[in-house]
């Protein structure tokens, strides 16, 4: 079971959070701040995939194109060198598509069963 938002993002008081960090938006799509991200890294989430699964970071409309380089820098600052960072699994679709378009997406001239 996932915890509440404050349970997920609390750092356990180990890292000092300035009020400014709480105002810096890192992932605009999912509304995650710098202190959210730092708190998770502090808690032991050390890959982009882990961060994504616990927080939905990078899973909004922009699919991480805005936040990913910023988070990579935070991971590096948290002790995971850039070179050894994995981007994780990147799946289609690369951008949002409506369910209607998928439903209508059968091949021309033949309906998929």
């Amino acid at each position: 079971m996932l915890g509440t938002r404050s349970e997920i993002f609390s750092s356990g008081g180990k890292q000092k959070m300035t009020s400014l960090d709480q105002q810096i938006i890192i992932c605009r799509c999912e509304d995650l701040t710098l202190s959210d991200v730092r708190g998770l890294i502090e808690k032991g989430y050390r890959t982009l995939d882990e961060l994504r699964r616990i927080s939905r970071l990078g899973m909004g409309p922009c699919q991480g194109r805005t936040c990913r380089p910023l988070v990579q820098r935070e991971l590096q600052a948290g002790g995971v060198p850039m070179k050894s960072q994995s981007i994780g699994v990147i799946r289609p679709p690369a951008m949002p598509i409506t369910l209607g378009a998928i439903a209508d997406g059968s091949e021309e001239g033949q309906k998929d069963a």
Partner: protein, 365 residues
């Protein structure tokens, strides 16, 4: 499902030249772009290009785009889909796209990924306020749509994009209050820097933004100086009254399709982030996928065009569709790339590319 010899994803300088090269070799080519028109970033480049004559020096970007688009449209074996966004690139050589409102599959023997790069964001309080833009986005707004972003602009980043967009803001009658640069040096060409300096815009090196201030939109920016270790110099804080903050802090290659297709990628700071390994012909670790332009390493339009040509020729050749002069044309393209990357300006890109290039024994036949 439609089938092509070669499908090119992205109709910017790299993709256009790739389409022309592959088309001239007789390949059945599909060129897709998500926008309303071809040309990529060229269509907003109202300034003239540098470099040698071979790379259209002295010509404005938008005119280069027009020449390339005319050529592509004159080729009966090159089909163009606009408003066609790539969604998924699969290892059975299928690409899924959203074309207008239709979700469809396209099959090709070879793909050339020329998706370009995206603008980098900066972490500071207030970075989500309306009025904070990427510099490239501002250039698109002004030069493609004729809209100015605001009246008083703070530019962050004194690389070529920051300098050129600042100048174009001035041309549009917008005040550029200052250009900040975190490093002690101006990254862009001196000729661009001199132009904005002559127009009275201060370029503040070793300076950064601390926060954007405003309730519903940007009303001011707080800036400060940095010491030689990039730490804030206490007491140097200043508040500038601006309604627009433009970020020109670098680009990241748009590699998503390459990740999906499980190409081997590696992080190379000099090339802007994760880029695909490639052989001397710009073929990735997946033999049916080539790369060209900023997605192969953030550089500029001249080298993107030559890379596009090289990838287009190589992809066609791999299908046995070579022009008689293909080997000459390919070695000429390689020589042009070496010339474009020569000298101190090209040092960073040369270092990066050396790390991204497959060794001789790793190359495809």
């Amino acid at each position: 499902m439609e089938r092509f010899n070669i499908c090119i994803i992205g109709g910017g300088p790299a993709g256009l030249r790739a389409a022309i090269a592959a088309g001239s070799a007789g390949a059945g080519v599909l060129l897709i772009d998500e926008n309303d028109r071809l040309g990529g970033q060229l269509i907003k480049q109202t300034h003239m290009f540098f470099g040698s004559e071979k790379q259209d020096a002295g010509t404005r970007g938008i005119d280069i785009a027009e020449q390339l688009v005319n050529k592509v449209q004159g080729m009966t074996n090159v089909k163009v889909y606009l408003r066609c966004a790539a969604l998924g690139l699969y290892d059975d050589k299928v690409l899924t796209v959203l074309h207008e409102t239709k979700y469809r599959k396209i099959r090709a023997e070879k793909f050339i990924v020329a998706t370009g790069a995206s603008e980098r964001m900066l972490a500071f309080p207030g970075n989500d306020l309306p009025g904070v833009y990427g510099a490239g986005a501002v250039q698109t707004l002004m030069n493609v749509y004729g809209i100015v972003p605001g009246q008083r602009v703070l530019m962050i980043g004194a690389g070529n994009i920051g300098l050129i967009v600042s100048y174009q803001l001035l041309q549009a009658g917008v005040e550029v209050v200052a250009i900040l640069e975190g490093s002690p040096y101006i990254g862009g060409y001196l000729v661009h820097a001199s132009k904005v300096r002559r127009a009275g815009v201060p370029i503040l090196t070793s300076h950064t933004i601390m926060q954007a201030i405003g309730t519903n939109a940007v009303q001011a920016a707080e800036i400060c100086a940095l010491d030689s270790h990039w730490a804030r110099l206490p007491g140097s804080e200043k508040t500038l009254e601006v309604d627009t903050i433009c970020l020109a802090v670098g680009l990241s290659p748009l590699s998503d399709l390459l990740w999906q297709a499980q190409c081997r990628l590696t992080y190379i700071a000099e090339l802007g982030g994760h880029v695909a390994w490639r052989d001397a012909n710009l073929c990735t670790s997946e033999p049916h996928i080539y790369i060209a332009g900023d997605v192969a390493g953030v550089e500029e339009a001249s080298s993107a065009m030559v890379e596009g040509e090289l990838a287009g020729l190589a992809a066609a050749k791999s299908l046995g569709l070579a022009r008689v002069d293909v080997d000459t044309a390919m070695s000429q393209a390689r020589e042009q790339l070496i010339a474009l990357r020569a000298g101190p300006v090209g040092e960073k890109i040369r270092t990066g590319l050396a790390l991204a290039q497959m060794r001789e024994d790793e190359q495809h036949a």
